[in-house]
Symmetry: C2
Subunit: 229 residues, 2 copies
DNA sequence: CGACGTCTGGACGCTGGCGCACAGAAGGGG
DNA sequence: CCCCTTCTGTGCGCCAGCGTCCAGACGTCG
């Protein structure tokens, strides 16, 4: 069985088969930009092995990552709300496969499957909570804790303790200086929680990393499990 | 004609009449707590003259306001997503009237009106964008700019340049110290942009306040107009 | 194998906001 | 009318993160 997307796995098999038959499997490459804020949504994506960052740009600043979409979610939910523009800058963070569907076809399929409608609505409710959580987190928590959270979230979505990301890129996601990331990361490494080398990061001691990270990580997971499971 | 809620005004008159007949008009008092995170949603509210803060609590911190709901929105959207729990702490910020509907009845009405479904879906899309905007704003912008934004948003929803709020409360909303608010507010007052006295704040020079405030205020309004208008 | 680009690691002073503590001013209730 | 609560204003030392610059380490590609 090939790796799947959890939203689609939740569908009854008839709806799922029907939906999958309309999808194409594409490989997303690191750094690919899938949507720009304000631009029309051409495709929706259901990551299977890949994952995607949602970044909110701010004038005069680098932008801030407000969401991470992996096999537990989808990119382009706005479409299911009847809005054809993306509010976010979406950039591929973890290379890998995703299922893709063009906008018109997605809307068509959505209209045909009330099961899909239900799953996506609940997913949107989760996203609402996660956005709020992220807002509070990036306001209050120190870089080290937020870095830990990011690594855990990415590790989950990469289905692997190792993935590719530079300090520079992390700084962009977290909305801090690159130097700040280097400092936090080297501290985590010194304590044996993670390892890294020229853009490849490895989670070494997951449990310890969880204890360093803020409660937002656990909160997110709890909400997801409660609403979706 | 009594003051209305803009979401409901957007409905075709038949649907609107039907929906309104199921609503009760209630007065919301300053400080009333309407939902707690994780608690079941008993009622949904469509403010007409009142407005409501959505606050995301964070362990070890005071919490952060992530949204403001006035006559342009509603409280309890999660219900329309099939989720009966509120992710937020919702507290009445501006005293006044609102239309209230109990949860079961709301779901029933929603099922009957596809126009209402459409409006609320678009509203949710707006909220998604606003949450992201707020996340970035509270990460990057200085207290003074954020305060200005908050005052403008509240002024809009209060339909009046004057409304009641103490520095203490503002600090809670913005996730900063009360002293930080006092400093920013007194600076704005010294420049003649606002006035205040023991909890009553007045916007004196709206245009100047807009120029002090970050672009997030304008961005929010633009998105709302584009998606809802 | 050498040169260049990329990635990581320090160092500098600076500042916005923090935590705390205290003092004056305005109102409201007994 | 006085006391007590609430609200606003100020002054401390402190620190996380900022902006900037430079240096070393690693890889890759010509």
């Amino acid at each position: 069985m090939p790796p799947a997307n959890r939203l689609l796995s939740a569908l009854p098999s008839k709806d799922r088969r029907r939906f999958l038959s309309g999808c194409e499997s594409v490989k997303l490459a690191f750094g690919d930009v899938l949507t720009e804020p304000g631009d029309p949504i051409r495709h929706v994506y259901f990551p299977t092995q890949s994952f995607i960052s949602l970044v909110m740009p701010v004038s005069g600043h680098s932008g801030l990552e407000v969401g991470l979409v992996g096999d537990e979610g989808m990119l382009g939910i706005s479409l299911s709300l009847g809005v054809d523009r993306s509010p976010f800058h979406a950039v591929v963070q973890g290379e890998g496969m995703a299922l893709r569907l063009d906008a018109a076809r997605f809307c068509h399929e959505l209209a045909l499957s009330s099961a899909l409608q239900g799953v996506l609505k609940r997913y949107i409710a989760v996203v609402l909570g996660q956005l709020a959580q992220t807002a509070a987190c990036s306001r209050f928590h120190v870089v080290e804790a937020r870095l830990a959270r990011w690594l855990l979230m990415s590790g989950d979505r990469a289905h692997s303790p190792t993935f590719h990301v530079t300090h520079d890129f992390l700084a962009y996601m977290l909305g801090v200086r690159r130097v700040g990331v280097t400092k936090a990361a080297s501290s985590l490494r010194a304590r044996g929680l993670i390892g890294y080398r020229r853009g490849d990061i490895t989670i070494v001691d997951r449990a310890a990393l969880e204890s360093v990270c803020c409660g937002c990580y656990a909160a997110d997971n709890t909400v997801y499990a409660k609403v979706m499971g």
